[in-house]
Symmetry: C2
Amino acid sequence: MPAPLRLGLAGLGTVGIGVVKILQRHADLIAARTGRPIVITAVSARDRSKNRDAELSSYTWETDPIALAKRNDVDVFVEVMGGAEGAAKLATEAAIASGKDVVTANKALLAHHGQALAEAAEAAGCVIRFEAAVAGGIPVIKVLTEALAANQIQRVMGVMNGTCNYILTRMQNAGLPYETVLKEAQQLGYLEADPNLDVGGIDAGHKLSLLASIAFGTRVSFDAVELEGIGKVSIDDIRMANDMGYHIKLLGVVQMTGRGLEQRMTPCLVPADSPLGQLQGGTNMIVLEGDSVGQIVMRGPGAGEGPTSSAVMSDVMDIARGLRLPTFGLPATSLVPAIPAKSATPAPYYMRMKLLDKPGALAKVAACLGEAGISINQMRQLNQPGEDNNAIVLIVTHKAAPADVSHALAAFPGTGVLKGAAVAIRIEEV
Amino acid sequence: MPAPLRLGLAGLGTVGIGVVKILQRHADLIAARTGRPIVITAVSARDRSKNRDAELSSYTWETDPIALAKRNDVDVFVEVMGGAEGAAKLATEAAIASGKDVVTANKALLAHHGQALAEAAEAAGCVIRFEAAVAGGIPVIKVLTEALAANQIQRVMGVMNGTCNYILTRMQNAGLPYETVLKEAQQLGYLEADPNLDVGGIDAGHKLSLLASIAFGTRVSFDAVELEGIGKVSIDDIRMANDMGYHIKLLGVVQMTGRGLEQRMTPCLVPADSPLGQLQGGTNMIVLEGDSVGQIVMRGPGAGEGPTSSAVMSDVMDIARGLRLPTFGLPATSLVPAIPAKSATPAPYYMRMKLLDKPGALAKVAACLGEAGISINQMRQLNQPGEDNNAIVLIVTHKAAPADVSHALAAFPGTGVLKGAAVAIRIEEV
């Protein structure tokens, strides 16, 4: 059997400890499957004295992850520290400069510096792999890069942040407002130290930008992702969308259109009976559409020690098995700059508004929509007893261009029949 | 750019023509993604004069697939002829003997001769890849062999025959009996020439036996698969299972238990609101469970030109990219003979029976179950107006060993209170 593949493991949080445990538990299985033992030679983490749920005494301790990345007895640098800048970036650069392959779970690092790192790695003959960075245990990078390699990809969609999906489904199932559920999630430890990374859609947007690069052969362009978090999703809309047969998800969508590359991570309505609509709790789901394969849906745990370290280890084992692919599926120097689509593909929209009890109110709203070129597919007027005399009006439009929707929203106040602002949320056709 | 990878394509049916079309449509994309052009040099099929929906004039025609497999200008033999014996087997053997890699969509061939072919290939330094053989466009072979390689696999389940799932969901949605829907499916061309391959569960059983080998490191043992087709699934059971919150699926399950390897391809009840329960029509679904990753669910098209040829091409592109894995994930000589579990893991059962209108009838049935060590979770008695005076009784048991269920079924007639035989169907906990 060939010499062991030697890992330097930077980061001993949830994911790092998961990797240690898998390697200790399944050393023989892994060696049999890859044809080569895989061992950890050295580890690093910020705090050596911290009590960790794993036996680490047989590994060399490095205080400095950059020193770890450069060690002669390390073949693969496993970066599970996190953070787009600082030590994770410097250590990854040092690993590549020293000719090491890199396996990382760091979506932020790659979303911001993926192009430069990929170019450096490929120039040095190294590979960077990052299955764990997107959708945890769901092997979306492998499936997109390898299994669907013969397809022109048409669209990639997904629920990629389990915390947001937990919050939205909990709001729906318990009928609780956003703020209450956010606090619950915080108490349960589901949120990042900076909650905006989750609920602002940034974490999911990072992931989406990586998938876009692989799907369309473009340079990672996180800055071009249309980002909107879930903070403005109201329990009213969740409830009323449900009544109309839809669920609200923080949905990522990338597609290449005649107008350019569309990257969106925004709250959307999806049919309640679709796989995406049925997704509950912290689970993730990715939908891949290719010109030959049609639609592939994958569902699984998007985070956690086991799923994420399983993904890290699949990358490590691919390297041990001799698989060497460009970081984003095509050579980094051949990735083209993404031309962002200025506006999203037309789609049906859900609208909710409160109308004053005035004659002709509904006609005025309908006229606004008509003038904006938007036609109505469904409309419901709800009169809620015990409330004020205003009527709630729900509208599902036919496909409309986002600019036309904005135009209509801007015209509504001029009618004088709305109480407050109208809400409009895109309905993604899945 | 390196020299092209040259394919010899044996079989110009749906899949073969799909491969031709992908290679013609996406030659540049494929070359960019693999770093190497992929070309067809020669093709073969039974009937040269047949009108095919593709331009084939630039390929050398071989009448004999064995001669095709041996050609010096062929690097990879692509076998999409089908059939466990005969030309497909001989040509594959010839390809391996000539040192060619093989990509095949032929589940029957591998289910029956996979071990011998894998040993021959690995001895010759060749690879055999077969993504298209299982679940069409769903990349289950890749995900199981590669993405989940660091996991001890606990269970693999799936709906792997789209025709059976079409028939079962059509029966349910239209309320039609099996025979009627079978005829419909035949007229729609959904069935193999020998329908028993589909509805008898054989085709799906072939696929399951291949997944079992990868999942558990055992030699393919199709003969040990517990096979039961859908021919005995009645519209009554579909309807009544639905009323109890279940759908009936032809479900494949493999798991390694203390009693040995369990391989089943049988009609099962699954919760109606589970991903498997919600699967409609000809779509396939695979559920993979590993000790670290938890549960991964994949859904997609199980057949058809595009999806199947997409899977064939992913194997070809992996070879072009230099990935060389043992056929079943472990070296063929290290696969161990499967020790078949003599009986399946205990599970809840659904039972349906007709009771004569006699005092104490239900008590006698309950006593039979009690004597067999089976406890009852739910029971419903339906009195259907306008019918005879018999009562339909539906029972959902707690977990019971299959032998105990057989024991109870054998004891029922002795009670003298049943009209006809009782039906018992396993409920798989998904």
